[in-house]
Symmetry: C2
């Protein structure tokens, strides 16, 4: 089918495939053969694959099929492709001329990476990097001055996705530094507590965080349909006695629960409960299980916050079992094997995945000194996006 | 068990149950009898229910068990309750004195509404109100001046949750009015396009919306793990020829697909695909099915945006079926029975549920006049919360 081209074409075919990331290295294409409504491609490394014609037409990146500025797809795959295109191997890839004269170009490596049947999830950065905490887990620290470099920031992002927690050291003691750090990555996720919040002991708190009491491990805002993903907590002052930060890897502990107390795991993952926060201005409620799984049974999210558990509305014969399961998870989370503790120093910032890693703090005595953290939230999409963009530069 | 109280107590029991909403009217409690680790309650209307003791202890709203300012739960249910409390009927409710001397009060109606086994979802505002569009659906309009009253705003919120779309009429032609309207309800949900975006024809667009081309029906930002829920689009100028707004109820059409083309529905709801947006600053990607169902098979979300469909990565033998299913859904959505069309006038604002209702627009000719919309997003949690708060006032 490697027929020379004769028909004219007005579209501007392109090998860039609409991608901003540089194409990776890969094998050269050596043959293209038509077979019914598929095209069979062969690479020099011996790999081969079949591509449906409609798939090929749909992925044309010419200026008619992809908007030349936005790079968005303009082609809509509403028609079957009845006639095989004329295919030609060209420098770097494949050229197809369709029955209507339209010409498409495809990069050989781009095609190789997207062979049908190779169902890797190239965009699933989070899932690929995630690693549960071992016992005696010690969080990784990144220096602020390193974070300000491309490599340092990239490392910080990777650790955050891998461990669900990373500590930044030696940052400046400047009001709103946490907002500037967030701004490098993406827009802050605003909630009923604002886009950026101050954590200190307040006279009229609407939230336990704004008191001086100890806070057992919890996740923030499980009463939202979509709780915030990533929390940044920047320490400006920490002179009060107490107030050490507490963390536990909710995913690692839930996996332990799955093994040690499968019935408790089942109850917590199959029973939606209500979470709710009320103040004069808001009444925000959501129903979801404490442990959320995806359709393959993998951990997706932990919602754990005893303060804003709403009325437990369950059938009578399941209530005691739910409390038992909750207690087992509570005790496992707060077990010293799983709960880590450290005092944040001024100029340190902890970033953690609020849907995976639970956080808390020891009580502090506000009469012994000031404790002041500034916090904000980021969508995890922004963490992954930032990492992909920084990877373009390497 | 209605024994008179003798032990002293330091806690301050309360009948308010930590709720800010006024208690509804309901039947009077007439008897409380102990039965093992449950308490059986009887109301004057003949209803009765069993309450586990630990449940009752967990829901105590005294000042030790609920923070008196934040109203958040302080009690942690880590111990079994081995001994039945002494119960007394009091004006408006029930008084329990526990073995350790702790005293709890419960409002009779509050208990009646929360009888175990009555598994209504009191916080599930959205699901309760949702109603699919009939054929020849005409959107409901609310006047701006009405919206500025409690009843008018409440109606606007209810229509938005019910139909997934509501039009505001006769608003002022003031820059940023859309931000002020959003600010009444909750914080704006910022994305890579900003917290508040302008929709007009731009010289260097990074998004098809910022051109003058026609936009087929789509949902915004399906390439985010959590696409924005509610979109507000406020029209400031619309003098150009064309540019009519298009909408379809994605849920109603998906239900139609489920009946008319069950195989297409199955393919679209069971096949995660990739969505991705790239520009110089961002590379935001997510994998999800076009039609997302909850674990009971009910529609949860539609992700439909042909511009930012990324490479279709599927096993070879499923690709043609996916394109067929996509085409069937596309054609059904754009069918004149389902797609509605109207020109937004200056001072009109359309609000719609971006995870349910698809939107688009006809091409316009920027040489014939200016077309300028301002938009933002809100979390649906904020819509529901605002409705609950306004309901307190009635």
């Amino acid at each position: 089918m490697n027929t020379p081209v004769t028909e004219p074409s007005t579209n501007q075919p392109s090998l860039d495939m609409g991608e901003l990331s540089p194409h990776a290295e890969g094998p050269r294409l050596i043959a293209a053969t038509s077979s019914g409504d598929h095209l069979a491609l062969h690479w020099v490394d011996g790999s081969q694959a079949h591509f449906p014609l409609l798939w090929l037409r749909d992925h044309c990146s010419c200026s008619e099929c992809r908007h030349p500025l936005t790079r968005e797809r303009l082609f809509v795959p509403l028609e079957d492709i009845d006639e095989a295109p004329r295919s030609t191997l060209v420098e770097g890839g494949l050229r197809l001329q369709w029955a209507d004269g339209h010409v498409s170009l495809y990069d050989a490596v781009w095609l190789h990476q997207r062979r049908p049947g190779d169902d890797a999830d190239p965009n699933g950065t989070l899932t690929r990097l995630q690693r549960p905490w071992p016992e005696a887990f010690a969080p990784e620290h990144v220096k602020y001055s390193d974070f300000m470099t491309t490599d340092g920031e990239r490392h910080w992002l990777e650790v955050l996705l891998r461990d669900g927690l990373v500590v930044l050291d030696d940052g400046p003691l400047i009001d709103e530094e946490v907002s500037r750090i967030a701004g490098r990555i993406g827009p802050m996720r605003a909630t009923n507590f604002g886009a950026r919040f101050d954590v200190y002991s307040k006279p009229n708190p609407n939230n336990a965080a704004y008191t001086a009491i100890g806070l057992a491990l919890h996740s923030d805002l499980p009463n939202w349909r979509q709780p915030p993903d990533i929390q940044l907590l920047y320490c400006l002052q920490n002179e009060a006695e107490g107030g050490e930060s507490l963390f536990a890897d909710g995913f690692a502990v839930a996996e332990r629960l799955r093994v040690e107390a499968p019935e408790a795991f089942r109850v917590l993952s199959e029973t939606p409960i209500d979470f709710r926060f009320q103040d004069e201005e808001q009444d925000i409620a959501a129903r979801a299980p404490v442990i959320a799984l995806d359709d393959r049974g993998r951990l997706k999210e932990i919602r754990f916050n005893n303060w804003i558990r709403d009325t437990l509305r369950l059938p009578l014969d399941t209530i005691d079992a739910w409390y038992r399961a909750y207690r087992q998870f509570w005790l496992l989370l707060h077990d010293p094997r799983h709960q880590i503790e450290f005092a944040l120093e001024p100029g340190q910032m902890v970033a953690f995945d609020n849907r995976r890693v639970l956080h808390g703090r020891r009580a502090f005595d506000p009469s012994t000194g000031r404790r002041h953290l500034q916090g904000t939230y980021l969508d995890i999409d922004m963490i992954e996006s930032r990492l992909r963009v920084l990877q373009r530069r390497t």
